[in-house]
Symmetry: C2
Subunit: 357 residues, 2 copies
């Protein structure tokens, strides 16, 4: 069976041993005689998976007792509305940083619900970067401050987080579980699973429980965090198979040695790629050095034609998904947790060869 | 590899050949070198699956051009809010039939959005039934009429649909694609996939496109049908793997000969079970005969203890998931499209043996 190096920005590569385990059990999970795809979400097989997934995430991120770990649906895009529906209220304002395409979408989502103050805007900066903490023009008594921890498209990442007096809310879709974080610094973290956590179809939310009580009566129950906390993410039928894969991925992360070890490997992979870029005048990094993402390594060649040739020839060498996002062009190598070091080495080798010919 | 007979009400049994195909391609879809779980939702492999799924459903149900077929997330429970958010408006009223537990949930969802007239209520009737069309106390100028085509818990099913002058909206979660229907009789049909269509995590919506234009500006874009029509269900990352399985299931349904053939098989399976119930005074059907569901066959034994013993002994014979819903007790055999005839025969045989001993 052929496997390629999959640099896709998401849905993205999963650990091969996770796929192999899912494959083995696809027609009969353990001795149940049925697939997890077919199992009741209230049965003992799925219940154990659901609880283990929550426990693994709690352990990996050292999530304290006053936070809830939720599995929801609809991706970060649904969270762009759910966060303000639950936390913003009618007459108050939330601070949002605009660090690029994904932050812009979060802002757009919130603006349809309530008042937004864009407290810093680096979305047009080239080379790409995220705001400095010192640049934030915060509103006194804002309801929360929202950041996008990693901009998948531009390849810029927050390396330190602000510590506002109000709850910090973060879209961590593209770097969740890629390194240790201090959950207590955040009021709410959300992440679509399809980059670092599992397949598309499930959204992780980690929320300080008291914040979930802010929600107004006008918000439908299905869109209240409180509903999902009270029902342990079983208010409606959960996306069982996607959560099963998240459970297998988090089990794999624990086996790797936890997030400190995972961070080391991620930084090593990114460093090798950025070194290959910087060593040569043939390639140019898209993001400012201090803000370079460890997850999405973005770079340009001298012309669009050359970039196209690069992506095409790379694809012929089984280096897939390197085309930059259609809105910005260029080249993008997404190297999430499950992306193997050998794939990075193969790419840096290919870059050298491509430059030489 | 052991497979049991899975009578679960949902998530429910899938066709074995669908699972086998998914299993074969789980590490590398066709020659792509990556799993569908890992493939970009904008890549050519997934795009072909997405389009085929829509085309198969269009063909199976003969969906006309002025309707859209959508793949959303959040199950029927999310639709309980999305339907009134999109169609109801502030100052108008919608008619809802209350035929049981699921209709009650749809009503509860709508009541948090706007005004609801319960135009018929059979939810407390025992034996269970759905309303007669002649009983409906319709509101002049209602925005729509909502029905729940099959009550999974009580086992009562609409056999004929009302033909109101306003759009008819139906939760078809538990009998979608189990028989031909005239889509033009409906304004909107929705169905969580996890009973007749595929695994949990994707929701099918079929909507007459003009109805999607009714939505007010106050509704967040992610919750507007219009958004998903305009973006062919790719406004946000879709639940790709769940949709892949829906595509395989609909391909399988076409191979069975389409919905007329599927209906014949479903009616045959249900008839055999109801005959076994009626032939004996040991078992008693829960629903009134004219309304008996072809999908969820519900029945009682003389005492709860006997029911418990029945379910336990059946389980020892690899007849799984027969316990009735915790809210009503009794026995429930869910026999959706993918449930094999042999499983029904095994159950009727077991019923006879159980009664004799």
């Amino acid at each position: 069976m052929k496997r390629v190096y999959n640099f896709s920005a998401g849905p993205a590569v999963l650990p091969q041993e996770v796929l192999e385990e899912a494959q083995e059990h696809l027609l009969s999970y353990k001795d149940s005689g049925m697939s997890i795809l077919e199992s009741s979400h209230r049965g003992k097989e799925y219940s154990a998976i659901h609880e283990e997934g929550i426990a693994n995430i709690t352990q990996l991120l050292d999530v304290p007792d006053d936070y809830a770990v939720l599995f929801l649906q609809g991706g970060a895009t649904t969270q762009f509305s759910m966060v303000p529906m639950n936390l913003l209220g009618d007459r108050r304002v939330a601070d949002y940083t605009n660090s690029g395409a994904w932050a812009s979408k979060a802002i757009h989502g919130a603006q349809s619900i309530g008042r937004v103050n864009v407290c810093a805007d680096t979305s047009k900066d080239r080379p790409a970067r995220v705001p400095e903490i010192s640049e934030l023009n915060l509103t006194p008594q804002a309801t929360y401050l929202h950041i996008t921890s990693n901009e998948t498209i531009s390849g810029a990442q927050w390396k330190y987080f602000p510590e506002p007096s109000v709850p910090l809310v973060a879209d961590m879709s593209s770097d969740i579980l890629s390194k240790p974080i201090d959950v207590t610094s955040f009021g709410l973290i959300y992440a679509g699973a399809q980059k670092n956590l599992g397949p598309a179809g499930v959204t992780l939310v980690i929320i300080r429980k008291d914040l979930a009580r802010r929600v107004g009566d006008e918000v439908p129950e299905i869109f209240r965090y409180k509903t999902h906390i009270d029902n342990n993410s079983l208010y409606n039928t959960p996306p069982c198979f996607s959560i099963y894969l998240v459970t297998l991925v988090t089990r794999w992360l624990l086996k790797q040695g936890g997030l400190e070890e995972v961070q080391k490997r991620n930084e090593d992979k990114a460093l090798r790629l950025y070194r290959a870029i910087d060593k040569s005048s043939f390639f140019e990094g898209t993001a400012l050095k201090d803000y370079r993402s460890d997850m999405n390594v973005t770079f340009n060649l001298s012309t669009e034609d050359l970039e196209q040739t690069f992506v095409q020839e790379a694809s012929q060498h089984d280096l897939k998904g390197l085309k930059g996002h259609r809105s910005v062009g260029g080249v993008r190598a997404s190297i999430y947790n499950a992306f193997p070091l050998e794939g990075v080495e193969t790419l840096t080798h290919f870059m050298k060869e491509f430059e030489a010919t």
